[in-house]
């Protein structure tokens, strides 16, 4: 290969400390927005969850029928009139599922939020302050840990005549924070002895600042996944309560549909459309939340992020699988990448000069 002498003249002006970079320097990566959505799990999970939230908001307004209205179409399979078929009273299952989305989403997220706030406050306080505070708060969360939430809710809702969804969310939230509080306490205990926290304390940072700016950011993943986990738990609790007939008075939700389907022996009648849509709705909501949970883990821990992305596209269009311990080999030909050849330099003169060389 010939190296044209003209290239020397072009590059020489930039020599010395101001070295011209080899080739074009790759342009600085732009600040990537919505990086979280780049993760397929996050995008898919959020898409499904978004649909659920949308139906929770507009569901009751767009139901084709009143979910309570009876008709003469008894136990009809899915048709153009009734997309998900009808019940033994001729009620439209599609309308019931749509109408039932709001309480499920409402209870799930409200209970999740209550439990998360409580667990963050109690867990971090116990872990960071230690001593008597820790003993008291740990004892408290241990007590709440052994309280069986569902039986408690059954008792409370059966005492109160009409248990509203708000009340159910409150009860679930107030009884399900203890597990996350324990996890957060353990994590805080390990973090508070780290050097950067000690350094912050040594420089005289206020406790609220250490907790808010040094501890909390490092606990984000734990808190977020705890929140998602509690939401799933709350949704399942509400549906369980409705399924065993405790809160059927509080309007439709997927559990109520399942309660009626069970009561009328839908399975024995072969009326699969009665319970399958509600079941799938629960399953998809759980899937969406779990996907978001995984995505948060990967997003917060970069090592997991790159480990999760095992298949990558190469410039030439192929894919490589990245695995720890087995570095991919793109090509094992011994061809040098840099096409450099020795250029004979005249050294018996005063100044050596690069010369054009023939192949």
């Amino acid at each position: 290969m010939t190296i044209p002498t003209s290239s020397t003249a072009q590059v020489i002006p930039g020599q010395g400390a101001m070295a011209a970079p080899e080739g074009a320097k790759p342009s600085k990566a732009k600040r990537q927005r919505f990086l979280f959505l780049k993760n397929k799990k996050a995008a898919f999970g959020l898409l499904i969850l978004g649909l659920y939230v949308l139906f929770a908001i507009i569901g009751p307004w767009i139901t084709p029928y009143d979910p309570d209205a009876r008709s003469n179409d008894l136990i009809q399979p899915p048709s153009a009139d009734h997309w998900f078929g009808t019940t033994h009273l001729g009620q439209d299952v599609f309308s019931q599922v749509l109408d039932g989305t709001r309480p499920v989403v409402f209870v799930g997220f409200l209970a999740g939020a209550i439990a998360t706030v409580l667990s963050v406050i109690i867990g971090i306080t116990a872990g960071y302050l230690g001593g008597k505070t820790d003993d008291t708060l740990s004892a408290l969360s241990n007590v709440f840990l052994v309280i069986p939430a569902i039986p408690l809710m059954i008792i409370i809702t059966s005492i109160l005549d009409s248990a509203s969804n708000l009340l159910i969310a409150l009860i679930i939230g107030l009884t399900s924070w203890s597990w996350n509080a324990r996890v957060l306490r353990a994590q805080t205990l390990s973090l508070r002895r780290r050097d950067y926290i000690e350094a912050a304390r040594a420089t005289g940072e206020k406790t609220w600042r250490i907790v808010g700016f040094e501890l909390l950011p490092n606990l984000t993943a734990v808190i977020a996944s705890g929140f998602i986990g509690t939401v799933i738990f709350a949704v399942l609790s509400l549906i369980t309560l409705a399924f065993i007939g405790i809160v059927s008075a509080a309007g439709w939700n997927w559990g109520t549909i399942l309660f009626w389907a069970q009561g009328q022996q839908a399975l024995a009648q072969g009326a699969w459309w009665w319970f399958v849509p509600a079941g799938l709705a629960i399953a998809f909501l759980g899937t969406a939340l779990s996907l978001i949970n995984f995505a948060i883990d990967e997003f917060v821990s970069p090592r997991l992020r790159s480990a999760g992305k095992t298949k990558l596209k190469t410039a030439s269009g192929g894919t490589v699988r990245m695995r720890i311990g087995f570095t991919p080999v793109l090509s094992n030909s011994a061809e040098p990448h840099t096409r450099a050849r020795p250029i004979p330099i005249n050294t018996d003169g005063a100044t050596p000069v690069a010369r054009e060389v023939a192949k």
Binding site: I3, S7, T8, V11, I12, G14, Q15, G16, A17, M18, A19, A20, P21, E22, K25, P26, A29, S306, A307, T310, L312, K313, T314, A315, V320, M322, R323, I324, G325, F326, T327, P328, V329, L330, S331, N332, S333, A334, E335, P336, H337, T338, A340, R341, P342, I343, P344, I345, T347, T351, P352, V353, A354
Partner: protein
């Protein structure tokens, strides 16, 4: 001397596509049977990446974008390590090439006894070996690295740093590999312990006959212990020569800079010098010789043209190679 490991035009990158960082560029290096090859260079020069690349141990996003690593087993035909299947690679590791990692003394699992960790590899590679033989081998290994065999049942925290390091070295040697790669194995130890361990290593090498690739930024250590030294800069090997030759007259200005940065124990006093500037950014390498912006002797061809590693025209040129325009090369190596 017959070669045991030949690296040919090895290229390693971090990441894919045009944002990839080329950490090792066209490295050619031959390790001969029974020799200690030192690999020196400042932080970020690609020493460790080279070692992990040739054993395919790089964590994602590291990829090998080209080259060959030819291994010559004691018996049988030579083969390319980069072309091995996963299964063959697993069998190859440790049995043929072992690594002692950077900060190896923290690599021991604190909840298992030394004996368990020593015999674990035997259990994996030689499953038919009896429990008794395994333990005997582990004891023998401990004795070889200078630890009393009654420490077999000790947990890692019961050993000192130097002892843990020696356990790691013993563990690497337990399958009698032909090649041992040591990535700054003594950085965390004090100089007395460093000397003791390295002396032991050289001793073991004479008895067991393995070859060592020794990676460090401590050139003075290499001058003393290694047969040959290769100096890396910006992902390339810039000079390679017998240890004494490098010490007496290094040809590459970068090698001279490294040698000028530590004091000699004997001889006349001289001013210690460092190398001005800082290591290059691997994502935006200078054109031509990557050292030229910092080089005190840079001249015209340095900026536009990349010098090739080749035999210099000095009297002892046959035994050494250098990549520098100050020393025109006769023919490229490899």
């Amino acid at each position: 001397m017959e070669p045991v490991l030949e690296i040919r035009n090895l290229n390693v990158e971090y990441g894919l596509g045009d944002r990839a960082v080329r950490a090792v560029r066209d490295v050619n290096l031959t390790l001969h049977r029974g020799e200690v090859l030192g690999l020196a260079g400042e932080s970020g020069s690609g020493k460790s990446t080279l070692a992990y690349g040739l054993t395919r141990l790089l964590a994602p996003p590291g990829v090998i974008t080209g080259g060959e690593v030819i291994y010559h087993p004691e018996k049988g035909d030579a083969y390319d390590v980069l072309g091995l299947s996963d299964k063959a690679l697993r069998a190859f590791r440790w049995a043929e090439t072992a690594i002692v990692f950077q900060g190896a003394m923290n690599s021991l699992n604190p909840v298992h006894k030394i004996s368990t960790q020593l015999t674990d590899v035997l259990r994996a590679h030689e499953p038919r070996m009896s429990e008794h033989t395994r333990n005997a081998r582990a004891r023998e290994m401990l004795k070889l690295v200078g630890i009393s065999p009654d420490r077999m049942d000790a947990y890692p925290h019961q050993l000192s740093g130097g002892m843990r390091q020696r356990v790691m070295i013993g563990m690497a040697l337990i399958l009698q590999p032909q090649v041992v790669i040591m990535d700054e194995p003594t950085t965390a130890l004090d100089v007395v312990m460093q000397r003791q361990i390295l002396g032991q290593l050289i001793d073991l090498r004479e008895r067991l006959g393995f070859s060592v690739i020794f990676i460090t930024h401590d050139l003075s250590l290499l001058v003393e212990f290694s047969n040959r030294i290769a100096i890396m800069y910006g992902g390339r090997i810039v000079e390679e020569a017998p240890a004494a030759t490098i010490y007496r007259d290094a040809l590459h200005p970068y090698s001279k800079g490294l040698l000028g940065s530590f004091p000699a124990l004997r001889g006349p006093r001289r001013e210690l010098t460092g190398i001005p500037g800082s290591p290059p950014d691997l994502a935006g390498m200078p054109s031509g010789c990557s050292f030229h912006p910092r080089c005190p002797q840079a001249f015209e061809p340095c900026a536009p043209h990349i010098p090739v590693l080749g035999r210099p025209d000095t009297p002892d040129g046959a035994a050494r190679s250098v990549a520098c325009w100050l020393h025109p090369t006769e023919q490229p190596v490899g």
